[in-house]
């Protein structure tokens, strides 16, 4: 199938899923959630206030009309204002994206680099004590809660030793990247690296069993060259795809890091919104992150095909 037809078909298939996400979010917030006017009006609300707020929010209209408004909001990107701060929702996402990316892109790059290196190393000595002990360590590391890493890390490295600021953020890009983001990135790595190593190890081991590796060894190539050139190039295909598809989840995956280190990113904003019952922000975040996930999956498939032409686009 050629690329254009594939793209059209995949984008076409996305529409029902996207509609489903919209319906799910709508169902949650406009039906399960009850009447948000009572949350907004506060404790001492009189019926007039409630009616007024209901009118402003449009929830005194029939459900289908509310759904139309929601769809309109998604298409135009205008979700109105935050209920808590009156800041436009679009402005909130625009300004919070930067800090999230400063945190997440270094984390993603470092994680991939370190995890690939470790995965190659343990695969080279697979079955050895090093391999087994590293795998055991990674299982234990995965089992410790991210919360414990953050609490202890923040206390020891920032509070006791003073190597990093305890929390905070500035307006300068470099200062953020080199001062404020360092400890959160390192702590995030502690948790995310172990599962990646285990996954990438299976990718590498899948390749090591292939015939071309035996051929390369038979030609007399050094084991290093076999691993770093022949195996890595092929194992890179699932790895790269995996990293790309994980991007949208990363965007929200740093909830805890952003909250602990007071980084004004999207994850922290979502937690704040849940705490304050700030529905417009949560609705917008859910729908747009879902869209981003679908697009990332599509890009992942395309990339897979591009890196490995044997893979057919279906």
């Amino acid at each position: 199938m050629n690329l254009g037809a594939f793209l059209v078909r995949r984008l076409w298939q996305m529409i029902p899923t996207l509609l489903g996400v919209v319906l799910l979010v709508f169902f949650l917030f406009n039906w399960v959630g009850g009447d948000p006017a009572y949350i907004l009006a506060g404790k001492m609300a009189n019926p007039d206030d409630i009616a007024n707020i209901r009118h402003q929010l449009g929830i005194d209209r029939p459900l289908w009309e509310q759904l139309l408004i929601f769809v309109q909001q998604i298409v135009t990107g205008d979700f109105g204002n935050s209920w808590a701060t009156q800041e436009p929702v679009s402005a909130i996402f625009r300004t919070r994206l930067g800090p999230s990316l400063i945190l997440l892109i270094p984390m993603m790059l470092l994680e991939t680099a370190v995890a690939v290196a470790v995965a190659l190393a343990v695969s080279a000595w697979r079955g050895s004590t090093l391999d087994r002990s590293l795998m055991a360590v990674s299982t234990v590391m995965m089992s410790i809660s991210l919360l414990v890493y953050i609490i202890v890390g923040q206390y020891v490295f920032a509070y006791l030793l003073g190597w990093f600021p305890v929390k905070g953020w500035s307006d300068e890009f470099w200062r953020n990247l080199t001062t404020y983001a360092v400890l959160p990135v390192l702590l995030g790595l502690m948790v995310s690296i172990a599962p990646s190593v285990r996954l990438y190890r299976t990718f590498v081991l899948d390749e090591i069993g292939q015939d071309y590796v035996r051929t390369a060894r038979a030609k007399g190539l050094s084991e290093t060259r076999v691993l770093l050139v022949h195996v890595l190039r092929n194992a890179a295909i699932p790895i790269v795809t995996n990293v790309l598809m994980g991007l949208p989840a990363l965007l929200t995956g740093a909830f805890l890091l952003e909250r602990f280190f007071a980084i004004p990113g999207i994850g922290r904003e979502i937690i704040l919104a849940v705490e304050r019952s700030d529905f417009p922000i949560i609705k917008a975040a859910t729908v747009y992150v879902a869209m981003a996930t679908m697009l990332a999956n599509l890009l992942g498939d395309l990339l897979y095909h591009w890196l490995d032409p044997r893979v057919h686009l279906e």
């Binding site: 917030f29 809660s145 414990v148 609490i151 929200t252 937690i271 919104a273 859910t286």
Partner: protein, 343 residues
């Protein structure tokens, strides 16, 4: 296995393989030990009243008394709190009224000097609650939430996957659509959104949230198994003998997919325990009168700054040991049930 010559079944073989796996057996023992503790706590035999303030505030653990001014305080030594607190020489403004009340009700309004422990086995928290009791209660909550939610998610995923894979066509399409919808929203974000909508907190609320969102993994695998099995000869034979669709799906095929389901169940328990801890930590999980590992970690975060590390250590370690054991057990189960799979 009643007859002596019967060939061993899937489960017998799997159990034998599991028994040969030393790591698997150790993790199984650890998990069973935790479950026993949960069971005992649930029945009220141990850790009944974690809310009792048995120790002094921030009582240090008994094996680490160096933190205290007096160097070594053996367990069991306690002090009586004075029944009237001298607030820096200030007079209690309500003292005359209190005296009057005491005079009127001499029996009820008597303050009983309370004896409090100076050290506790694993230390005490801000109010003097015993951390050991709290950890046990916290394990009860977290593990129960994980188990019940995983059961719910697994049953949901299994039924949906079975129906979807077995009937195919438009049924399959619609369940796949639902699967696509649920998987396109990152898991934690979906949980947060639901937690934001459901205003009431409670153990059953978390179980519902986790169970209703976590079925996707089971669904995918069970559906694939049913796709594979539905046209096999034994299913066709069952159909020819007049077995109904439900009978074919749940009596004939289900046992053949049970190894997949069991591994998924085990994996879900670990995942849900982790999710519950995060939810409760953020305050979206258990209510304040219930203790879980997450709510303990939340308290511990502030205690650590004061140098009171024991609650953090206790909750963190209890969770890490269980999750490690459960993950290793899941791997061992997978190896034992599906020896063809090599990872």
């Amino acid at each position: 296995m009643a007859q002596p010559n019967a060939s061993p079944g899937l489960w017998t073989l799997a159990w034998r393989r599991l028994q040969r796996d030393r790591v698997g057996m150790v993790s199984l023992a650890v998990v069973v030990a935790y479950l026993c503790v949960v069971f005992l706590a649930l029945g009220g035999w141990i850790a009944r009243d974690w809310t009792r303030e048995v120790g002094v505030n921030y009582a240090p653990p008994v094996f680490f008394p160096a933190d205290q001014d007096e160097t070594a305080i053996p367990l069991g030594k306690s002090i009586a709190l004075p029944d009237q607190v001298d607030l820096y020489g200030l007079q209690d403004p309500l003292a005359p009224q209190l005296e009057a009340i005491r005079a009127r009700h001499p029996d009820e309004a008597r303050s009983i000097p309370e004896r409090r422990q100076l050290t506790l086995p694993l230390g005490g928290d801000k109010w003097g609650h015993d951390v050991l009791t709290k950890v046990i209660k916290g394990s009860e909550t977290s593990i129960l939430v994980g188990l019940v939610a995983a059961l719910l998610a697994t049953v949901l995923g299994t039924v949906m996957g079975a129906v979807s894979g077995y009937f195919g066509r438009w049924v399959d399409d619609s369940f796949n659509w639902l699967y696509g919808v649920f998987t396109s929203i990152p898991y934690l974000l979906l949980i947060f959104a639901i937690a934001a909508v459901l205003q009431q907190k409670g153990v059953s609320t978390i179980i519902l949230i986790l169970g209703l969102t976590g079925w996707t993994g089971v669904f995918r695998l069970v559906r694939a198994e049913y796709l594979k099995h539905k046209s096999r000869e034994y299913v066709l034979a069952a159909g020819a003998m007049g077995a109904s669709h439900a009978r074919r799906m749940f009596i004939h095929i289900l046992p053949n997919t049970s190894h997949v389901i069991l591994v998924q169940l085990s994996q879900n328990v670990v995942g849900f325990i982790k999710s519950e801890v995060i939810l409760s930590f953020l305050g979206f999980g258990v209510p304040v009168d219930v203790v879980s590992w997450g709510s303990m970690l939340n308290e511990a975060q502030n205690e650590l700054i004061l140098g009171k590390w024991w609650q953090l250590a206790a909750a963190g370690t209890a969770m890490a040991i269980l999750v490690t054991a459960f993950s290793l057990l899941t791997d061992a189960l997978r190896d034992a049930l599906d020896p063809k799979l090599k990872y």
